[in-house]
């Protein structure tokens, strides 16, 4: 009895998750006129018109490129910078510098972006870095640094100390230790952190919205916001935008699931 109840529960929740997504998926294959007569069910005359229209009327490839460029650059640079800091925190061992450095970044976890977005915006305007991907990238790097330093410090502390000490006794320089010993050992953890950061940067709205103005520079979430203004009366087309922009992430999730899930675990432990 308890087992049946349990299964029922799991299936009901699966329906709650999947049903809205399926309805959206059906919608993108309907013309606007079919949608009005048949808003929920499977399309009777499936059409690819919406997808075609989206790609011909919008510079979709440009938006994809912008998002990919900003996300990849940010995630890679973030990993390089934060792994360096996490490595230094580990190497300082139990000294006060390690504790100070760690708390400096951990403190940043508590500060919501709404607190520093105003000064960041005016600082970037003074530096003429608004409306540039470079500006967005350096801002995102600094905003996500507390999170990534926190995650990577947690990971780096689990590495076997003997290997590092042995290499140190053999006379390896600090840079060699970092590049040839620690970084390879960190590989799975770097992948986990990367997956977690990737989702955040790819989906980010606030700072791209503040900093990017020109249409040719927009990232996908911003492009979606813009479609909403244009297609307010055309749900099939708007939902096509939603699905098309989510597709790369869904494909990645299917293949790299365990990194996403491990990333959530490590990233949420910051609470």
């Amino acid at each position: 009895m308890q087992r049946i109840l349990g299964q029922l529960l799991l299936i009901s929740f699966a329906v709650i998750i999947v049903a809205p997504l399926l309805i959206v998926l059906f919608t993108i294959f309907k013309t606007n006129s079919e949608f009005f007569s048949n808003p929920i069910a499977f399309p009777k005359h499936a059409t690819l018109e919406n997808i075609e229209q989206l790609f011909t009327k919008q510079t979709m490839l440009r938006y994809f490129w912008n998002s990919a460029y900003v996300t990849l650059t940010t995630v890679i640079a973030e990993l390089v910078l934060s792994t360096g800091i996490a490595y230094a925190i580990m190497r300082y061992g139990k000294s006060k510098i390690a504790a100070l450095l760690f708390s400096l970044f951990a403190l940043g976890l508590m500060i919501p972006s709404q607190v520093n977005m105003i000064p960041i915006y005016s600082l970037l305007r003074e530096l003429s870095l608004t409306n540039s991907h470079f500006g967005l990238i350096i801002v995102t790097l600094s905003i996500l640094m507390p999170l990534s330093v926190f995650m990577l410090t947690g990971f780096v502390k689990t590495l076997p100390k003997e290997i590092i000490e042995a290499a140190e006794i053999d006379g390896a320089s600090e840079f060699r230790l970092f590049a040839q010993i620690v970084t390879p050992l960190m590989a799975p953890f770097l992948a986990t952190t990367a997956a977690f950061l990737f989702v955040i940067v790819w989906n980010d709205l606030l700072f791209p919205m503040l900093l990017l103005v020109e249409k040719s520079k927009l990232t996908l979430p911003l492009a979606l916001i813009q479609f909403k203004g244009e297609y307010i009366t055309n749900y099939p087309l708007l939902m096509t935008g939603v699905i098309v922009t989510a597709l790369p992430m869904i494909v990645m999730f299917v293949f790299l699931q365990r990194y996403f899930i491990a990333g959530t675990l490590a990233g949420s432990l910051k609470g």
Binding site: G6, L10, A14, I17, A19, P20, L21, I23, V24, T27, F36, P39, I40, L81, G84, A88, R91, S95, I97, L101, L104, G108, M110, P112, Q114, V115, N116, M117, I118, P119, I120, S122, L123, I138, V139, S142, I143, M145, P146, E174, N203, L205, L206, P221, L224, I225, K228, Y235, L238, M239, T245, A246, M249, I250, F253, Q257, F260, I261, T264, G271
Partner: protein
């Protein structure tokens, strides 16, 4: 000491960036909160605590605060309870359970903008699936203007926040549940303990740390739920879904009162600090290990 200096090259690039683009702006937010800057003009004046008085008396600020608390309570309770119940069903290793976990996790990877648009569509009073399905199964009485009804809208959005993050929180509970040695439960069951007693006396005490993480993570998340509100209602109707983060945003970038926005953000920061501190104190004490 030499080693300490050599490590500097690993720290400095990140630290400089963090100092310039994170710490300095955070401190200047504090500074701006004592000025009447509009965000554009080159000159502004020091106005003391005037902004703090104004903001704390501002009806919309107080409304945002109340809305934010409603939103938080709804999300924290629903998300924690549902994800725990689901986790208890799927924490054991099996192919089907792994499938369920991935399925429940799926909305987490979608952008809040996408999630917001999907649900604006589902909630649409005329064309949305929710009202259509309710009428189809004979529950016309329950059809609603989900985002247009001022006393309901904030909860409609909170439900979406929970929909998107329950799977993520289930992952945390599953990790907690998997760390409990199964022999403990088996022994209790052999001794004749009921399912409820096993949960209450064995599972729960060991699960408390995971629950603490879920609750505090969810709390912070629900204060940061800017994207969803922004895409679904923009704070309306009549400020009924305005929360602190959207209030700060619109004060700064729609009404150009940076000083006031900075002040609201300082209040926002204090609130988060207090909540985090209380939760830390409350939840840190009851850690158990066998």
């Amino acid at each position: 000491m030499k080693k300490h200096l050599r490590l500097l090259e690993f720290i400095l690039p990140g630290l400089i960036l963090y100092a310039v683009l994170f710490m300095y702006p955070t401190i200047s937010a504090l500074y701006y909160s004592f000025t009447n800057w509009d965000g554009l003009s080159p000159s502004y004046q020091y106005v003391g605590i005037q902004n703090y008085e104004k903001v704390s008396k501002d009806i919309i600020f107080n409304k945002s605060l109340t809305n934010n608390i409603k939103f938080m309570l709804f999300v924290v309770i629903v998300q924690t309870v549902v994800s725990l119940i689901l986790a208890l069903q799927i924490y054991k290793k099996s192919k089907l359970n792994v499938f369920y976990r991935a399925l429940y996790f799926l909305p987490t990877i979608l952008s809040s903008v996408s999630v917001g648009f999907i649900w604006t569509f589902i909630y649409d009073s005329n064309l949305g699936a929710l009202n259509k399905v309710l009428s189809m199964i004979g529950l016309e009485g329950l059809t609603q203007s989900w985002l247009g009804n001022p006393s309901l809208a904030i909860f409609s959005i909170a439900a979406v926040q929970a929909w998107a993050h329950i799977g993520q929180m289930a992952v945390l509970f599953i990790a907690g549940l998997q760390s409990i040695p199964p022999e403990l439960k088996e022994a209790a069951i052999i001794d004749g303990a009921s399912t409820f007693r096993v949960f209450y006396h064995i599972t729960w005490p060991l699960l408390a740390p995971a629950a603490a993480i879920v609750v505090s993570y969810t709390t912070i998340q629900s204060f940061k739920a800017f994207d969803l509100v922004f895409t679904m209602t923009g704070g309306g109707p009549n400020y009924s879904t305005e929360i602190l983060s959207t209030y700060v945003y619109s004060s700064a970038f729609l009404n150009y009162s940076f000083g006031k926005a900075a002040t609201a953000s300082v209040y926002f920061l204090i609130l988060i600090a207090v909540i985090t501190f209380i939760q830390f104190k409350l939840l840190k004490t009851d850690r158990v290990s066998y």
